[in-house]
Amino acid sequence: MIDEWYPVGLFGQIENGWKTALMGEPIEVAFDPGREVKVTSEDGRTLPVCVRYGHVWSSLGKPRKDLFAIPEADQPGRRFVEVGVVRVRCSPLRAVENFLDIAHFPFVHTDILGAEPHTEVHDYKVEIRQDEVWATQVKFYQPQAAKSAAGGITTEYMYRVPAPTCSVLYKTCPPRPGEWDVIALFVQPLAEDLCDVWPWMALFDDVTPMTDLIHFQQTIFLQDRSILENQIPRLLPLDPGMEIPTRADLTSVAYRRWLKRHNYKYGAQLVAQ
């Protein structure tokens, strides 16, 4: 678990550096004298660093592979939106699982990402591709799917979980049919029950002001926070029995199994209590 890459802040704010934490350990992020990004643990260790998707990434261990790829990050014509941070008093895994969920749209993001009576979740496909969780052919009726959407449309989604605390979603792009908007959630585990969530987007939208794009995403995520801070238990239960999934929860079921198979337990609860 310590060998994964985790987001630790926005590269755009590196100038003055900052202090934060990773899995309970205080760390410091700053430029070194040669203007290279340096992440240091409290005991003075220099930690691995990479800068990608607008964020600084680090690890308390030794990552065995590069940070996962998001090919759309290099696609011309996209606007990249660094939404900033939302601190949530919940397990990092609960934050990711909520991001993978569509059935809550009509109730939590009412009149934005969903609205009654359009609550039905149609069957979709879930599979493991190259050791990532993928959900495809996910369709849902949305009153205002994106800032650039004028009215209600049926949006198609694809979800992927390329790392235990990160998820990338692809959704119908209203101004450009045939392309996908990309919205990612990078979750920094501060502790097992506390995280900083860094949403990031790569959109085809040349019209909407950056502030509005950020506000839209922050509104959505603050609505999610009101849920995430009130789930019991705070840790994500990986064993069946404590919570009841339905067909609409297949992505969540696959995510929990995938975590368990990888023995990823940080922020998880293994035995029903």
Binding site: A103, P106, E116, T119, E120, I227, Q231, T246
Partner: protein
């Protein structure tokens, strides 16, 4: 609304037809607090995915699957609820007796004190019984207190007064109870500090 009993947190709600109900404060789907939910008709719905529950605790509807009749196994634990004289009583387990009838008393207000029951009893100078704590406060008529222990040494206090009390008597009792809270909180803090 959320409430707390010695058996744990509960979601307390009133159906459209006026029946009070109490269930465990956790939706079995994803663990969301049901006290954040909403009441429609005779059902309490979870705010996360809209799963709705009847007063006996069985799941009525899963909006993600409108055509599905939820199996009987999906349910929330419930508690027996009785209303009498303006007070809602929630049972822990299966009670063999009815809640006390507090004849001639009317509810005045509820408040939370950061003090334990023992401290409140010490300030009042009496012990709480099944019918609450009887307090003869200065500058007020007799006040009845129903004490419910909460988390972290907090106590929820329901205040009742003679139902024939005048407006000025109710104001006097309300001030007396504020003063009781301040004294008890002071003693509680001092007790912890010493």
């Amino acid at each position: 609304m959320p409430a707390r009993t010695p058996a744990g947190p509960i979601a307390l709600w009133r159906s459209q037809s006026g029946h009070a109900a109490a269930s465990a404060d956790r939706c079995p789907h994803r663990g969301m607090r049901l006290s954040h939910g909403f009441v429609r008709g005779e059902a309490l719905s979870c705010i996360y995915h809209g799963w709705s529950y009847a007063r006996p605790g069985n799941c009525l509807r899963i909006p993600a699957h409108p055509g599905l009749t939820p199996p009987e196994t999906i349910r929330v634990a419930t508690h027996e609820v009785e209303e009498s004289g303006g007070v809602i009583w929630v049972a822990v387990g299966e009670p063999t007796i009815q809640p006390p009838r507090l004849e001639g008393l009317a509810p005045l207000r509820s408040l939370t004190a950061h003090a334990g029951i023992a401290v409140l009893e010490a300030v009042v100078g009496a012990k709480a019984g099944p019918e609450g704590l009887v307090w003869q406060a200065q500058n007020s008529q007799e006040i009845r207190l129903l004490l419910v222990p909460q988390e972290d040494d907090h106590t929820l206090i329901h205040v009742l007064l003679d139902e024939k009390s005048s407006a000025s008597q109710r104001v006097a009792a309300s001030r007396a109870i504020e003063s009781l809270r301040r004294t008890a909180e002071y003693l509680q803090a001092k007790g912890i500090a010493s």
